[in-house]
Symmetry: C2
């Protein structure tokens, strides 16, 4: 894990790193020493590790809760190379989005291919982060990701038992029913009532599929990009309840 | 409005009153003077104005937010007389409950008859409460009620423009679609994913019917009586956001 830059503002330190070929970013309290809860953030499709919603979420969790927060560019995203496979899988998704049609089945193929690449990467990154003094090897770990961040996050959290609480949303059950059923940690799931990219029934079916005894669905009016600000507050309380000791 | 008793514990004053033939209770901070937000609580079917979930909710809103909170026995509930009409309407509801079947259409008939009686009562009670020094005539008013408290609360809030925020839940759309569409104030709606008394689709349809620009659905696993404790916390933040200035 190679740290290439470090800046600090409003008490939050932001460090860029690379691990193998994976570009990432770690946010911590500026004066952080010793172990603390860690939250991993997964970005949306076409976004990257420092997309504005991720930076806003990271800064809130660090400033309000004292957590460490990390994000990486998913394969084929941010500054990372594309591939012929990616172009082939993304074409039908873009066609359906342009037509305003549900993208579910096409997205499931894309996400499945991406998840095969992303899951071992997240595990390698988590290994490295837990070796840092300001994170620690035994602390609680959360995951938050919407849309693509759920498409990759559900199989990741199902496979990775170090993650003990997760915030998902803006995704349907296409290809995710089986890994969702293996997740038993607390889940908060965000659904947009008028989401044209994710049919309401598919999102409700994904929520229903989680194996967790504690899972809570928050639905609000509006489209894919209209999640209200108070859901960030809610996710902060969710992680405080489940990660802070 | 005749106050018959007043007790105080943990900083919360509890005053029983009657207004015409309506038995009610008013909770306030023990030292309350001057105007403050008011929350009206509607109880569930077969319950009464001081059922344990209402007392717990009232004490939280008073102690944490400084609100005034009031509740009354609905017609045919608590210490109030039954009637031949009530017996006739409740029989098919009980039959279906005993059989573990959805009670929706039968409940809609019962609730419609009750709402005709309850709405003018709530309005009379609200008139009287707003004449009290510790409530005031111009303060914000909220309403919270689950199950029967939603069955009666939806037409009440639709008819009563003094109510500016409402927490509903554990009810389907039977007979409520039209008044729900007339509600435009912020709504928080609680749904139990495995509710055997309220089919999931009927509850989702009621949430969908509200005319409010800000409405948020919270769904959790479990049956009609299993709403998690953290939903009380959430409703408190909801009322703080919308009623406290």
């Amino acid at each position: 894990m190679h740290f290439s830059s470090q800046t600090s503002s409003n008490g939050v330190s932001e460090q860029l790193f690379t691990l193998d070929d994976i570009p990432g970013v770690l946010w911590t309290p500026a004066d952080a020493t010793g172990p603390r809860p860690l939250v991993l953030l997964g970005h949306g499709g076409g976004q990257h590790k420092m997309a504005p919603p991720l930076v806003a979420r990271a800064r809130r969790y660090v400033a309000d809760c004292g957590f460490a927060v990390a994000s990486v560019d998913a394969p084929w995203h941010g500054g990372r190379p594309a591939s012929e496979q990616r172009d082939r899988l993304i074409a039908p998704v873009r066609e359906r989005m342009a037509a305003g049609e549900p993208v579910g089945p096409a997205l499931a193929d894309l996400h499945a291919a991406l998840a095969d690449l992303a899951i071992p990467e997240w595990q390698t990154v988590l290994d490295a982060l837990q070796k840092l003094d300001c994170v620690g090897a035994d602390g609680p770990v959360g995951y938050a990701g919407m849309s693509l961040g759920t498409g990759l996050g559900v199989p990741f959290v199902a496979a990775e038992h170090r993650v003990t609480a997760a915030v998902f949303g803006l995704a349907g059950d296409y290809g995710l029913t089986e890994p969702a059923a293996r997740i038993t940690v607390p889940v908060e799931f965000v659904l947009q009532w008028d989401d044209r990219l994710v049919p309401r029934d598919a999102a409700l079916a994904l929520f229903g599929a989680f194996g967790s005894a504690e899972k809570t669905l928050h639905a609000n009016p509006g489209g894919h990009g209209d999640v209200p600000e108070f859901e960030l507050d809610s996710s902060e309380r969710f992680f405080t309840r489940h990660l802070a000791t």
